[in-house]
Symmetry: C2
Subunit: 258 residues, 2 copies
Amino acid sequence: MTVKPHSVDKSRSMNEFKCDNCGLLSLCLPDGLKPQEAEQLEKMIEKSPPLKKGSYIFHQGDPFTSIFEVRAGSLKTYTVTNQGEEQITGFYFPGDLIALNAIDTSSYPISAKVLETTTVCEIPYGQLDRLSDQVPRLRRQLIRAMSKEIREEQQMMLLLSKKTAEERVATFLLKLSDRYKRRGYSASIFRLSMSRNEIGNYLGLAVETVSRIFSRFQKQHLIRVEGKEIEVLSLDTLRQISGEIRSDDHSADAINLS
Amino acid sequence: MTVKPHSVDKSRSMNEFKCDNCGLLSLCLPDGLKPQEAEQLEKMIEKSPPLKKGSYIFHQGDPFTSIFEVRAGSLKTYTVTNQGEEQITGFYFPGDLIALNAIDTSSYPISAKVLETTTVCEIPYGQLDRLSDQVPRLRRQLIRAMSKEIREEQQMMLLLSKKTAEERVATFLLKLSDRYKRRGYSASIFRLSMSRNEIGNYLGLAVETVSRIFSRFQKQHLIRVEGKEIEVLSLDTLRQISGEIRSDDHSADAINLS
DNA sequence: CGCATGATTGAAGTATATCAATAGTGGTGG
DNA sequence: CCACCACTATTGATATACTTCAATCATGCG
């Protein structure tokens, strides 16, 4: 099932794949690159064949060679503790970059496992690094992506350290909703590509707790759950529960003191 | 008490400060820079006067201008939730870089508050970014530092999500020990610059729990606590408790134990 | 020095985990 | 295409690690 980085199919026919809508150029590189720069980048990138659910992009401990970008589908990354427990460190969707945490190491500190049929782009880091010398914009985009990742993980620390189970689940659903929305999909109806178990693992909760809270939210008509299908019925209420008030901009928002 | 970034004293006499032992050149930039490169970097960096305990390097929401490096002392960074709760995201010691999470934002997403008399170097990011164009090594070091930060936060996620209170405290002490050791101080005797409250906040525990576990560890002769003074009596046992077995080869790639 | 703040220790409460049992899903091969 | 089986999800009952509340003790700063 494992697909090693180097085993990514390099024999794709030319032009079958264009980086035009590649995340490193769009989502991850919002400023865009000049056509010429884009071409250089494109040359070094290899697109994987569709990877089946359960296959690995890389395993924890594998020698680090490349970062990856999700093109389609979704995946999870996780570390394994010495006790053999798995801790999911993130879920990734099209446009997201993976393995930014491996850049200054010799081997991947996490595993990346595909949640549904997924394609990724492999970006050999050595080449990216070299190209960065010539294309400052590329370097900037990489740094931006990393900075963002740091912030998101700090948000996770806050979630894991301070939030109740309900707040966690609400936050999780909102985050998903937002990510789908940014990608042009519905913000209110989507399909969870991860299991309840994986959600619980990620959120620091038992499966049963996740399940119970889904049921509770459904009873309160905040969401409609049907297996992996989720419909968010009240983003606003969910936002209140999540503890992220996010008053969009007029942020004079009073302290919501309880 | 607040010291805004722009208010950092720029009127220091020349040569009172040398970057030779600056973390961006040493700890954070292990490969080192060529003398000429170092000089360029040095020119843009402003060293703060000693900042007193309780003062701020920057506040959450302040416009982002610079990253900072701790030169002496220590500080904490934290976010504030909408409910007004504080979540500490990290403790920083000499050589550590702060505000790597702000690079792609217009304002600092965290506050940085000094825990004891501390000096920092201010590195205006615009200038650093420009210099990075000319000095690839600099860019690489920045990226390395960020990659490492991402990994450390993932370790924190694991800690917060999977570890028991005892494991958390043990892990915390080991991490501190390791950081002091790397800086040339004793790995077994050191002074906690943060309060029990701050430790608890960081580890996702109540103060009382931290206190109790300190007492318990002391009773088991794993540590000796006397206020803020800590002596680690059995690194090995602590390591076992921490859940990070680390088959201890003193590796460069050491488990980035958080 | 003295008082506010931080630390410790004990007792009681609670959110969530764990255990357990049932129900639902989806993938596979006959 | 259906039937089967393993896996995943749901729901309830019980257990527990940690929090919260409370009271005392220590510390260090003005």
